[in-house]
Symmetry: C3
Subunit: 412 residues, 3 copies
């Protein structure tokens, strides 16, 4: 599965985490590899091995100067492409110089994020055309934080329509956290009927809830393999997450909100920056490598600040932030769920479908078949759909709302 | 050995740790299994798997309401017997509902403790008739704390008469911690003669010390397999411990004191609640699961607050609390002793006997023979004996004091 | 390699860490073995197993009294040679007493340190005649601290002439940390020519830098297998380090400075005691054993207090202390470097030579050939050489300066 992931671009840092030319490197781990990122004198980004190829000293302590990162141990210097551009400990006539590179990955900047491609292609594919990455910077807000579980536990929460009616439910008298954005059915009907349509990029599925004798609430979620999903909402700014594996039991979570047509207001930006509250931490991974990242101030070590009185009277969980409610569930499963202990029900059809699709892609890759989705960036330019309709049949509903799903028109 | 333990009831929580109906669940680990306990609307206790059988979300965060613990992820609800009494994400006609249970164990309440039976019998045996569990609540005080070593290291300290003369000894001028309860011989004679009598429930053994030309101090300790022992004392209230495995290298220690005939005074209760001082901790086990428990304020990380001046002048260890003196020894052995490094001497005969008995019970179980002690709760209703006698022979001494050992009369 | 190390004496504690007769034991780990050291009533030092051979209780908590360390669990007592001199739990006529010893190692005191020999010889060899251990106490200052990496990563930094020009370099306008002690060439020429001469005790090598058309700066470093090196310097007091393996990924670092001919001044002592600043810690090793040691206040968990502004303007690393600059490099490689990821260059010839020599010694030992250096203590009485000379050839240079290298005359 790790090999499969290497065929896709992944957003691994925010641009705002690495603004300073010749500034300090930032430590990160992606797909289990320890890396540092730096922005060079010309503003180019390098993402390279966390340790020098010479004697393996840590590159975090290095000098970022004159278009390269220079190991302070012996002065070897590397550019953003990993070329060793200075090796001052070698004699002038040494033939050794040209033979050393530091591991380095291609980087792109889009959507307020820095993306890396860790795959085998000489020419990486085009970045996926996710709508939030295509709008002007002013139309978007992004943040990044760590989560302590396998990425798939988080992804499965995104394509799981049923939990919304429970985990995020207000109690009578409590505030509806969705502030009227959803049809009331989503709160009251916890057992939606699910229909799945496989696509090039993953699948979309409709969750249908009956709201009157002749009308259905349709919520069509897009799952864009391997780590994105688009949650239906009538309104913009609309938000979402990317769940990028740090390693098997940690994720770097990119959270975004955007409006396709206008800049976000200061209030819209502010509310997304402060909920949930995150704070920078020097995070020590279990095997000792340190990464520079933020963390939800409500975390497993403080039981997510669960408030049992709030749980009794105001909302279902007693955890004050919707996003953290999800985190408490996916982290409390442990680093990686023992799936043989699960009992999947009717509303887990989407979870099952995503697992099957990923396993198929991994097996295909073993058989030499590259994931088509990785090369098909246009396919990622879709939207989720949130629509009341008399149509009961999912294929017919999708035919009718194809232009909404393709972002060509707004849902009404 | 784990299988053997499952045939016995174990006290795993204090009743006072779980008083509130529909209150927050309590996290615990017993015999290596992660569990949560809850008291339902009717006051019934449930002890169930720490994770939901649906998608494995943590049950600690759940809603305890309307006679069941309801997973906040998707609203599945379980009663104290583990039955899934609500599965709202399933369609009304789903046949899946009846097929899911959460792992659940029978629970009893006795001796101020909650007991679980994790064994194979449909009908669990009767609780062991330990005297301290049979007296009225007013006659007893109990507490619970964690200890960081294998249970057997602690049990072996209980059936080890010799160490009392050393580990717990006062120095000249220091206070005798036993406040005159013991014959002086126990302090002055560190090499007692030991005699063992195997019984249905384990064994009893006599430690004989000569105190004059024609009198012996006899202390008869009862070992009640697998985790209890009764320490001889002339006086009531008399105390003891149960050492319940959390996992291979952690124990939940239940400490009790009781008087068979009268309520404890406020002072008697208070002194046992404050010595050793314990404090609640959110204890993170090495693999990450958190349990809700108390801990001795003197622990390995602060060297048990050893005071070398006290050790020079007042008592043998420089550790101010008798119980913590034991803990410092059994924990400093490490999580599990490498027994191939031991050199067992004459006074370790009891330690050897207990190991042999447990190994025999485990081998018997492998051969299909259930431990008889687990089914013989009456047998556990015995007392230790502390008696000066001219009798030098253990079998004859025991014949003479059988009624004392059976709790039928007081020793004189 | 561990077996090879056992053939050598190692300094494991400072004398000043164990001054008190009958005082508290000190915990240490050497070559992966958990030990405690104590100074008995007569001032003799014992270094023994950290756990009692009886039931494996921790010896740190024991009573150091009447010429022995007495386990407080059952009163068994051991002298500095490991003999069990009291076993009070045994009957008077027990034959068991004479059969128990605690693991114990020979100890010597020299150079302000306590040395242990953990090898197979009945008669240990003589201590190595390192010059700093032979001068009067007043002529010397020593300190000890922990470092979190394999000893070889640290040793390799000592025999690596090239890094001095980079890691320790001042920037223009910054202070030269070497305060004029070195020829300017060392800072300006980062690619010295290295020549190695194998010796009985390890090797010496010359790093040659051209400083004018007819003169060379020669710095001859001595590597004294397995854990010492002598760094060239014109001046006394001259300092150095010993890197003693605690286990595979921790080192006890002994740091010394000495003058062969006169007592150190108070200032000379003071500056070496406070730079780098160290502080006592109760250091918990990853598997739980605690050792009593000091630690650099700049450590991996605070990124060695790196100051990026200092790095931009004053010195190469932004780390304020020369010694800590080295530590940041050797620790950031991780506990043990994966050497298959290295790319060794021309100036790593000495690193390669030391590895080859150690591997040869380990293979020889497997073939039954003891390391000759371990038995040849006189051979260790050498000095490093720091000399400007017109001589370009290393063998001829060494012939000329043999008496300097042997400490018979001072370099001029």
């Amino acid at each position: 599965m790790g090999e499969l992931f290497r065929h896709f671009w992944h957003p691994v840092l925010l641009s705002e985490e690495l603004t300073e030319r010749d500034g300090p490197p930032v430590r990160l781990r992606v797909l289990g590899e320890d890396l540092v990122a730096f922005r060079d004198t010309q503003g180019k980004i390098g993402v390279v091995d966390a340790r020098c190829p010479h004697r393996r000293a840590g590159m975090f302590f290095d000098r970022n100067e004159d278009c390269g990162l220079r190991c302070v141990y012996h002065g070897w210097k590397f550019d953003v492409h990993g070329h060793c551009v200075a090796m001052p400990t070698e004699p002038a006539d040494s033939t050794f110089k040209g033979r050393v590179k530091i591991k380095s990955y291609p980087v792109r900047e889009a959507g307020g994020c820095l993306w890396v491609y860790m795959g085998p292609r000489e020419q990486p594919p085009v970045l996926p055309h996710l709508e939030w990455t295509l709008v002007p910077e002013s139309h978007r807000v992004v943040s990044r934080r760590i989560q302590e579980c396998n990425y798939m536990q988080a992804v499965e929460g995104e394509i799981d329509s049923a939990h919304v009616s429970w985990l995020h439910a207000p109690l009578k008298g409590g505030n509806n956290p969705f502030q009227g954005r959803f049809n009331n059915a989503i709160i009251t009907d916890g057992a939606p009927t699910l229909s799945i349509r496989e696509t090039d990029y993953g699948f979309c599925y409709g969750a249908r809830r009956q709201i009157s004798s002749d009308e259905y609430d349709w919520r069509v979620t897009q799952w864009l393999a391997p780590t994105y999903s688009l949650i239906p909402s009538k309104d913009f700014p609309r938000g979402g997450r990317a769940w990028i594996p740090i390693d098997d039991s940690h994720i770097s979570v990119i959270r975004y909100a955007y409006h396709p047509d206008r800049p976000l207001t200061a209030d819209e930006v502010q509310s997304r920056k402060t909920t949930p509250a995150i704070e920078p931490v020097t995070y020590r991974l279990p095997d000792g490598y340190v990464i520079d990242i933020s963390r939800d101030v409500r975390h497993a070590n403080n039981d997510y600040l669960i408030d049992r009185e709030m749980q009794r009277t105001r909302n279902y969980t007693g955890i004050g932030v919707v996003r953290t409610q999800d985190t408490s569930m996916t982290e409390s499963m442990g680093g990686i769920v023992d799936r043989s202990e699960e009992h999947l029900g009717t509303t887990d059809a989407t979870v099952i479908a995503a697992r099957r699709r990923l396993l198929k892609m991994a097996r295909d890759l073993q058989a030499g078949i590259e994931p088509a989705a990785a090369m098909n960036s246009e396919a990622y330019n879709v939207r989720a759909v949130d629509q009341v309709s008399p149509e009961a049949d999912f294929p017919r509903f999708m035919d009718r709302y194809a232009d909404v799903a393709l972002g060509k028109v707004e849902a009404v």
